[in-house]
């Protein structure tokens, strides 16, 4: 371990280490973050949900966007796997189908950063118990 000789050294070290625990800090206040759930049931994984999830995590981190990416079970849209649910703070969650890496990139640039909705939205007609609680 290199010694920190000045306060700036410590600050630099902190900036480098920050990402080690951002996941924990963000999970403490998910309502203020972009939350993305990736459907990772057998059908999702077979259709490439794992690659999509890896890409989302890395790309969001590269762009320094505070987000919580979690996996979830089957959402029931097996016809359009991989599916992801994107939940921006203060907005209703939106579900996208057929999200490959390319589509995931668009979701980040256009939906999460740009705030515009894309094609390929699967209309949902249910709420989860979590959402009911928040109301």
């Amino acid at each position: 371990m290199a010694k920190v000789k000045t306060l700036d050294d410590l600050k630099k070290m902190r900036a480098d280490l920050q990402s080690k625990i951002t996941l924990r800090e963000n999970s403490d206040r998910p309502e203020k973050m972009v939350q993305i759930k990736v459907s990772m049931a057998t059908c999702g994984i077979a259709s490439g949900a794992k690659e999509t999830m890896n890409y989302l995590i890395e790309e969001l981190d590269n762009r320094a966007i505070d987000a919580v990416v979690t996996q979830t079970g089957c959402m029931g849209y097996c016809h359009s796997e991989p599916t992801i649910e994107v939940h921006l703070p203060g907005n209703d969650p939106v579900v996208y189908g057929n999200v490959d890496v390319k589509k995931a990139g668009e979701v980040i640039t256009k939906h999460i950063v740009g705030g515009e909705l894309l094609d390929g939205i699967i209309p949902t007609n249910y709420t989860t118990p979590d959402e009911d609680n928040q109301k």
Binding site: V4, L7, R24, N26, E58, G73
Partner: protein, 597 residues
């Protein structure tokens, strides 16, 4: 650097380790490896989460799933179900005792809802054996800020403005203590951390040292800068091996990083910390005894003044603060005095850590804002009394504190309110008692402790407490008179007024407060020869009801002294002279035919 998608936090506090927490960590790592997920999942051993009742605790990040009462065998299922398939393992979730529903996120649990975590901010969040995680949480930033941007006087002013008071029990304003030590001229001064946590049932200091040792080291260095000292000593009892191990690792890492040692942050300020072990004597929590013990002398108090701030360790000015007090310091520096002072009551600012114990559903460690009521702590956070019994009393402040009752439940907790009702904050032990507890026996229990722990230097404490104990013993045997009650109170007051140190000055508190609040119970023992709670063995008799007994002979077979006689299918009888009142017969009887009278 590997980019983990999931962190699995496993409690590594003493409590959870005792329930095979280490095996859980090993098995989780193995299961992660079996599923080739080493690059996706990080298993972290953290400090105490506080919810010891349901330990061992495993927390899943990022979805914040809180698994309770986990066993090593569950590790495989957690990985294969939760991490691989994305399904929560329902049976390991916490069940809300009222709604009977599973609660997956700890934020939604009653236990955590009212808590504010300042001193415990990193406990159950970071790996205490890894300085990187502490630095990532802005660790040692407060030290850097103080060293590069402030004079000692400016830093002391922040601590004074925050309103922080000593968390070890006395409640002396911390900033003022630092200021006094700062103003004494001397070429050498000492910073001492009092980690001699002695109250029965209290484990907040141990948990902080086990879960976040760096916060204490950082605060000690800040204190050293403020008072003008470069030597830090931590007085810790040898019976805290895990805390000692983690402190040693933390000190080593801090030296390697250069935040302890010579010329910290290039400012020319030197500071280093050493450990001193105590043998677990209660009196050594008193600062003058503690200092004598560190000097290799007998752990006995001396008269103050001179205060340690003027003449302490080796006759040098010494600033002694408790572990929890120190743990608050970095937050006050980083967030500002206003932030800290915005929490709490007029004269008691910030939060306090309490160790909940006794007949309460959620035994554990909590941190709550000052000013919260006992009712909120016991019923909302603590989940109420075990087995649906009735609340009787809560003992705060350990052997120096008192027993409070139903009528005190709605008083906002702070230093002054607790003193006003005959108890004290103490270090934060909170022992809850239900209707089955006899208050005379409780007072006797604490006196037994103080008699044992009295250092013997001054007569009021050495002799007086022993006499108090003997009178209490007489009461529990039904041999006392009303006159004895008068002597008990009088003697208690004399001991309080004339003892040399805090131990004797507070040791009669459990007796006096129970006499005030449970006068009827004392009278029942003395006048009627009865123990209403059925705890005092000398005042009760086991009786078999002639109508209910079917003569199954079970009781006579379990009786260890053959005190029960009777023929098959005939009512049995207990020989009350031979009976040793062990209660074995009552536990065995399937017909509820045996009762206490």
């Amino acid at each position: 650097m590997a980019h983990y998608k999931n962190h699995i936090l496993v409690c590594g506090g003493t409590g959870c380790r005792a329930s095979q927490g280490e095996e859980i960590v090993e098995n989780l790592k193995q299961a992660v490896a079996d599923n080739s997920l080493e690059n996706d999942i990080q298993v972290v051993r953290t400090g105490c989460f506080g919810f010891c009742e349901k330990g061992p605790i495993v927390k899943m990040i990022p979805d914040n799933t809180f698994y309770v009462s986990v066993t090593p065998e569950d590790a495989g299922e957690i990985i294969s179900e939760h991490c691989v398939k994305g399904r929560k393992v329902e049976r390991m979730l916490f069940t809300d005792p009222e709604t009977k529903e599973h609660v997956s996120d700890s934020k939604d649990m009653g236990f955590y809802k009212k808590q504010i975590r300042i001193a415990l901010r990193n406990c159950g969040f970071i790996n205490p054996e890894n300085i990187d995680e502490y630095v990532a949480r802005d660790g040692y930033g407060a030290l850097g800020k103080v060293l590069t941007e402030m004079t000692p006087e400016e830093a002391i002013k922040i601590i004074k403005d925050s309103g922080l008071r000593g968390r070890g029990g006395g409640g002396f304003p911390t900033g003022l203590k630092w200021e006094i030590t700062n103003q004494v001229e001397n070429d050498e001064k000492y910073v001492v951390c009092n980690a001699d946590e002695g109250d029965p049932g209290a484990f907040m200091d141990r948990s902080i040292l086990e879960g976040d040792p760096h916060s204490v080291l950082e605060a000690m260095a800040i204190c050293g800068y403020c008072i003008g000292g470069s030597n830090g000593l931590i007085y810790i009892r040898a019976e805290y091996p895990l805390a000692i191990d983690r402190l040693k690792i933390a000190i080593e890492q801090a030296r390697e990083l250069g935040v302890l040692g010579k010329d910290i942050f290039g400012t020319g300020f030197d500071f280093d910390v050493e450990l001193r072990y105590g043998a677990g004597a209660f009196v050594c929590g008193e600062e003058t005894s503690l200092i004598h013990s560190m000097e290799g002398l007998r752990g006995e108090p001396t008269v103050k003044p001179p205060f340690p701030s003027v003449s302490g360790y080796k006759g040098k000015p010494t600033n002694v603060n408790n572990v929890e007090t120190f743990a608050n310091i970095p937050v006050i520096i980083n967030e500002g005095a206003e932030y800290f002072a915005s929490i709490g009551t007029e004269k008691s600012k910030g939060t306090k850590v309490f160790a909940l114990a006794g007949k309460i559903n959620n035994v554990g460690l909590i941190e709550v804002p000052m000013g919260i009521t006992l009712r909120e702590v016991i019923f909302d956070i603590g989940g109420g009394i075990k087995d649906g019994k009735k609340f009787k009393s809560v003992q705060t402040g350990g052997p120096s504190g008192g027993c409070l009752t139903e009528k005190h439940l709605d008083i906002p907790i702070d230093y002054d309110n607790l003193l006003a009702c005959g108890s004290m904050m103490g270090s934060g032990g909170m022992i809850v008692m239900d209707e089955d507890d006899c208050m005379v026996s409780v007072a006797k229990f604490y006196l037994d402790f103080t008699v044992e722990e009295s250092c013997g230097k001054c007569a009021p404490c050495r002799v007086g407490n022993k006499r108090l104990y003997e009178i209490l013993d007489k009461i529990t045997q039904g041999k006392a008179t009303e006159e004895d009650l008068g002597i008990l109170r009088n003697l208690g007051n004399v001991i309080k007024d004339t003892s040399l140190c805090g131990l004797g000055q507070t040791s009669p508190n459990p007796v006096l407060s129970t006499m005030d609040n449970f006068k009827d119970e004392y009278m029942a023992h003395v006048k009627d020869g009865k123990c209403p709670a059925g705890q005092c063995k000398d005042l009760m008799e086991y009786v078999i009801s002639e109508e209910t007994c079917v003569g199954c002979t079970l009781c006579s077979r379990v009786c260890p002294v053959d005190a029960i006689a009777g023929d098959k299918k005939q009512p049995h009888v207990i020989d009350t002279v031979a009976c040793i009142k062990c209660g074995a017969c009552m536990d065995k009887c399937k017909f509820n035919a045996i009762s206490i009278q």
